[in-house]
């Protein structure tokens, strides 16, 4: 079958490419060179992806707002990020006299490096993972934790009130949602049985009929995904959780005093974090690189992975185009008083899911518990904060 082998080849295209390139080298160097190529691919692909995303975001937002968005620079405006990059490169680098120069310089680097490291454990296709580690998921979270430090460094070193306030907000927010992120991933690990992300994908890569066994299609998985999505948005400081950069109060938040390419690095870091967390969400709940329907299996796995990531990016953009921003206290209360308890509950539900065994019973029980909990907690929360729709009276 020509077509099958063609698609298999396509699926493995990167490996074939790597092997071909590495083939020119002496055998002793080959593994190292292979790794190097993989790294280069990551370091090249994701920033490129970032550039594209900025264009798509600006255009997509434009479309939501009844306008076109950038379309003049290069074909369809796709050179816009290039121009932005050149501009950022040649822009003067202002470092306030009172700032802490070294930390000010290191902060964007720390951000970019830690975010890049997170990509190492993401399986971006069948066997396409740079470092398949036994504790991959933990590694990912460990790297995510380090980004908080870079935000603190940026905010503190700028010696600017808005920056520091923004950084403090950012850290408070990120640590709150990081707990949620971790715990919602624990559910998946409980069923998937591994911290290795490629194993987790493998576990989901099977089908009943044509339908895949993605975790999002289980009650606990769906709930986990919703919580994960909320927490991921907060982790990456995207709207409606973009408080650290809350333009309406804090000017530009922790990077107020950054200019030139250092600012661009923050921008890059933020987007890369968005990609990596989307990738993680995809891996944990959306079956990673596996095809959505069994007969789509022939499509190369990496296409599915990137497709799913793109989809989640679109949702990020979509939310940004729609939602206003929360307030700090609401954000914190939401994290600790709604999302976290719900996630903990989800842990128990996941355990229940295992102990109830196969059958419709576990579907019914688990869904009922989760829906009831969501509705009840939402209702109670809204009641306690006294908000809800209102009706109005008129004077003639």
């Amino acid at each position: 079958m020509v077509s099958t082998s063609f698609f298999t080849a396509l699926d493995r295209i990167f490996f074939l490419l790597r092997d071909w390139l590495v083939g020119f080298l002496p055998v002793a160097l080959r593994p190292a060179a292979g790794v190097l190529l993989g790294v280069i691919a990551i370091v090249a692909v994701f920033p490129g992806f970032f550039a594209l995303t900025t264009v798509f975001e600006r255009k997509g937002l434009g479309r939501m707002q009844n306008r076109l968005g950038p379309n003049r620079v290069g074909p369809f405006g796709f050179f816009q990020p290039v121009a932005d990059g050149i501009k950022a490169l040649t822009k003067e680098d202002v470092v306030p006299y009172r700032s802490d120069r070294i930390v000010h310089f290191l902060a964007p680097l720390v951000l970019v490096v830690t975010v890049f490291l997170g990509f190492a454990v993401l399986p971006m296709g069948r066997n396409m993972v740079l470092a398949d580690m036994d504790a991959g998921l933990l590694f990912f979270f460990a790297m995510g934790a380090a980004t908080e430090l870079s935000i603190f460094m940026a905010g503190w070193s700028s010696h600017n009130k808005y920056s520091l306030l923004g950084a403090m907000r950012g850290i408070a927010q990120m640590i709150s949602y990081e707990v949620v992120l971790l715990l919602s991933a624990v559910s998946v690990v409980m069923i998937g049985g591994s911290l290795s992300l490629s194993k987790i994908v493998e576990a989901q890569n099977s089908y009943s009929g044509v339908f895949p066994h993605w975790y999002i299609f289980t009650p606990w998985g769906f709930a986990g995904f919703v919580v994960f999505a909320i927490a991921a948005t907060a982790e990456t400081n995207r709207s409606p959780f973009d408080l650290p950069e809350g333009e309406s109060e804090l000017v530009a938040g922790y990077h107020t005093e950054y200019s030139g390419f250092k600012f661009a690095l923050f921008f890059l870091g933020e987007y890369l974090a968005m990609f990596s967390i989307s990738g993680l969400g995809t891996t944990l709940f959306l079956g990673g690189w596996s095809a959505p329907l069994s007969f789509f299996d022939f499509v190369p796995s990496w296409i599915w992975f990137f497709g799913k990531v793109m989809l989640s990016i679109f949702v990020f953009i979509w939310m940004r185009g729609t939602l206003p921003r929360l307030r700090q206290d609401q954000l914190m209360n939401f994290a600790w008083k709604f999302v976290l308890p719900f996630t903990l509950l989800n842990l128990f539900v996941t355990a229940l899911w295992r102990f109830l065994g196969e059958g419709w019973l576990r579907w019914a029980v688990c869904s009922a518990i989760l829906v009831a909990a969501w509705a009840l907690m939402g209702r109670v929360g809204m009641r306690r904060k006294h908000f809800g729709p209102r009706s109005y009276r008129y004077a003639e």
């Binding site: 470092v95 006299y97 970019v112 490096v113 520091l164 624990v186 390419f261 903990l344």
Partner: protein
């Protein structure tokens, strides 16, 4: 050596560092060659809405932040225990799970206590 996963991590680390440093170096070079930086007292002062910045930004913050950090720390540690448990979960007996349940419930109790104390209310 190259087969170790850490090797690829190290390479990635270096590459990422290079990725961050290279444009900064390029920008520095550009500034050296063509576009001289022009620092001056106003430009390099702290930005504050177009006014002269008053007071110190490094002020003392409120302990609310710290309280959240404590609870976060505890949950972080909890996750460190939960994750290996979760990995082993599918093969574990009910009793083992119960042991973990107790552990988790203990921490939840801490959370509930904090909630009741009103610490989880951001002021």
């Amino acid at each position: 050596m190259a087969s170790s996963p850490y090797f690829s991590l190290a390479v990635l680390f270096i590459a990422a560092l290079g990725f961050g440093l290279a444009p900064l170096g390029l920008a520095w070079l550009w500034a050296r060659m063509f576009s001289p930086p022009k620092p001056n007292a106003t430009k390099n002062a702290i930005y504050e809405c177009g006014l002269v910045s008053k007071g110190d930004a490094w002020v003392q913050f409120r302990s609310g932040y710290y309280l959240y950090a404590i609870i976060f720390l505890i949950f972080d540690v909890e996750a460190v225990f939960l994750l290996p448990f979760a990995v082993a979960f599918s093969g574990l007996s009910g009793a083992a799970c119960a042991a973990m349940l107790i552990f988790v419930l203990l921490l939840i109790e801490g959370l509930a206590w904090a909630w009741a104390k009103g610490i989880l209310t951001w002021a």
